[in-house]
Symmetry: C2
Subunit: 462 residues, 2 copies
């Protein structure tokens, strides 16, 4: 903890993952932090309002947790996931590792980590409170705020009108802070929904409390324009999520009732059906949820108000980067605040906005593309071959070729730069895959070396 004590009072709206972490970081800097959340306390502990209960934590997230001093604590509740496990309709399985088998933050190879949302949220909130600098207020719904020269007045209806010096909106995709910022002049915002919705189904542990599928993988049943996914939870269960279009072929609209859902699963995901004896009841009980995307600019209003996390850049979940991107916002903001405290908030927040806005746009684009990859390409032989060649490239020339997935998941390269480099690599791989002899690559070491070299030559020319 820093010895610095700052008399400024900061309000953080939203006690979710990003809000809790950001409150912790601010408190460690010596600010007096009030965290407000519209929900009652217990809601944060579990599955809330159709949001998934597990999350994929990767390198960008870990860096922020490290900076906030809670990396080791979070490590104890995180479960390594080493790669994708693809399920074909005939039940056959393919494994595709996420990264290299050595290295990685914890020396167990490059992998992502499954964390229960509730546990991580509690851990972060408790750490923020433990600083003695943070108070958390539940059941506080922000109705409005007003800036003046001296500070910001928060309007919580009957809960009062406290004042603060700075206000951070970490209140998610449907941010009340952002809704209020929309009334400011020249604030651009876009809110857009994916044509696909999702429904979650729990796959319970077996009688002995063990996982019923290999627990080191993100399981995917890629089926073209829809897919099923399963991510393990530390308690031995899996959260399965069906992503399907709202309308049209194989859509939610076509699944009229629980019987139709059972038939749908039997047709498309037969290998998981025996593991889901209560599928029909779950289908009826669980909501179909939509997927919202938000982008806006600027991410701040003057020198007192700013957005962090989903409130500024809600994205789709297909890259597992929503939380990681929000945590990286905190890392970047913290970096901009510098060591000696902030002298010019207006310039600092403007810089934060102009730095991070392109990153937010890029990770949204990347996540949309990854949806297509996951549902469409992960079952394709040519795609798997390409991935394998890229892995070989990355292994032999780690300084020259970092696959796009690795850039996003295992490095701190700006998302916008990763998107750019990924496009260059994609164009190269398209040329490489066009070679008529590409299918023989693993039988012929000379050919393999020639292919790898030609990819690097093309990279040099870009």
């Amino acid at each position: 903890m820093s010895d610095l004590r700052v008399s400024e009072r900061v309000a953080v709206i939203g006690a979710g993952l990003v809000g809790s972490l950001w409150a912790l970081m601010l408190a460690r800097r010596g600010y007096i932090v009030d965290v407000y959340d519209r929900r009652p306390d217990p809601c944060l502990a579990g599955d809330v309002g159709g949001r998934s209960i597990n999350l994929a934590l990767s390198e960008r997230g870990w860096k922020a947790l490290d900076l906030a001093g809670v990396q080791n604590a979070v490590r104890t509740i995180a479960m390594p996931i080493k790669g994708r496990r693809m399920h074909a309709v005939d039940g056959s399985l393919t494994f595709q590792p996420y990264g290299r088998e050595e290295g990685g933050r914890f020396g167990e190879g490059e992998c992502i980590y499954s964390v229960a949302r509730g546990s991580l949220n509690r851990l972060l909130l408790e750490a923020a409170e433990a600083t003695g600098q943070t108070t958390v207020h539940f059941d506080h719904k922000l109705e409005d705020y007003r800036q003046d020269g001296e500070g910001v007045t928060l309007h919580f209806g009957e809960q009062g009108e406290p004042r603060c010096d700075r206000l951070f909106g970490t209140d998610g995709a449907f941010s009340a802070v952002r809704m209020r910022m929309m009334k400011a002049d020249r604030f651009d915002v876009e809110q857009k929904y994916l044509e696909h919705g999702y429904k979650e189904i729990e796959l319970s542990p077996d009688g002995a409390g063990d996982f019923q599928l290999p627990s080191d993988g993100l399981h995917i049943w890629p089926r073209g324009h829809f897919m099923l996914m399963a991510l393990p939870n530390p308690d031995g269960s899996f959260t399965c999520t069906l992503f399907a279009p709202y309308e049209g072929a194989d859509s939610f609209a076509e699944i009229a009732n629980a019987d139709a859902a059972q038939a749908y699963f039997e047709k498309h995901f037969p290998d998981i059906v025996p593991l889901l004896p209560n599928l029909k009841a779950q289908w009826t009980d669980h909501p179909t949820s939509s997927l919202a995307m938000v982008s806006c600019e600027p991410w701040h209003e003057g020198d007192r108000v700013a957005l962090v996390g989903d409130s500024a850049h809600a994205i789709v979940p297909f890259y597992g980067q929503g939380m990681n991107c929000g945590f990286e916002d905190c890392t970047v903001l913290d970096g901009l605040m510098g060591d000696g405290g902030v002298k010019d908030w207006s310039t600092m927040l403007a810089k934060y906005s102009s730095l991070r806005k392109p990153s937010g746009d890029a990770i949204l684009e990347l996540a949309l593309r990854n949806f297509i990859e996951m549902r469409d390409l992960t079952g394709d032989a040519q795609f798997l071959l390409q991935k394998r060649i890229e892995r070989k490239l990355a292994q032999q020339y780690p300084d020259r070729w970092v696959p796009l997935y690795s850039q996003v998941t295992f490095t701190h390269i700006d998302y916008a730069e990763a998107l750019r480099r990924g496009d260059v690599q994609r164009a190269i791989m398209r040329q490489v895959m066009d070679r008529p002899d590409i299918d023989e690559i693993w039988d012929n070491e000379e050919l393999l070396n020639d292919v790898l070299q030609s990819a690097l030559d093309l990279l040099d020319k870009k």
Copy 2:
């Protein structure tokens, strides 16, 4: 007035131009209409909150006014504008008629009409009230609404919570109804600002009360990335509007004070400076306003709530179509409601939304393009030659070639279809203008006929 009496109670939020007209149309259908507006009564009479005080009424607007039975009344407060009058820096003038010299709705050739916003608004509101079916409530700010199976409850804070059967949001670019609809699932919305702002300067009548510039034209001082415009008002004045970027060369940011504004006008618009003796005072007194664009989808929520006008599709003013498009929404909605009253509101409103959303997108695109044309091309000799050739084409082959401006301004062709046809014509004109002998066209009748024929031949091939 229809003999039909309908017991349904309809709320219209926003007593502006579109709200007043739509209330009138609904009242004539027999609905009991309550119009609510957040502003006090007198505000509607004049210049409000930086909005321009005059408007260009064209064919789409007239059709809706005709349908509402007020065309003749509006005619008495409308002033014909026959074309653009372009002012070069050296003071030379060029006239470019909007349409054909004969025809047009009132037999005085094709022209647009300048109307004072306040006068038109009053006329429409009074006509709505005169039906005996409409009540207007000022000082009512909508804070929220709630739909249930039986109707809609409106929340006006201390002003009460009246009920209605249907709710129409005609409350403009910053619509409270739309802000509330954003909270509904799967509602897409984009709010975006132009990089240009504007400032209005009044050019007073001369000592005798007469116009100081020709009153039959929309005056434009095109200067590339910025421009000055002047539209006559029926009282002998002109409203001049400077459109300039907020930042960069020749921007508002560069005009630090009234002296700088004076110098800016003397440099770029020298011919108007003698007519604006109080330019400096006006510059200081008048705000610089932003230009918001809004698009959203769907334009309705279930079977009880819908958006009409700017609330659904706020556009930039450069085609003079904002009000006309809103009025056309009313025409289309009225058409969809049919003769016997609405049986299935849900289907009808969904049809309205899917019909009009592409039109709204198209007129926004057209208006953005017209900004470039007005500020950039109207001073260009090649552009003027092209316009003249198109006029000749339209004159000789009125059934085959309607210039894009005429489609938008003098017809009821759907904006989306006009945009499509305009693109085809633009591609053809680009080919025509590439002829090496094109500059000699007016000296050689054979050449002229050949050029016109080649344009029609190209059109046949599309």
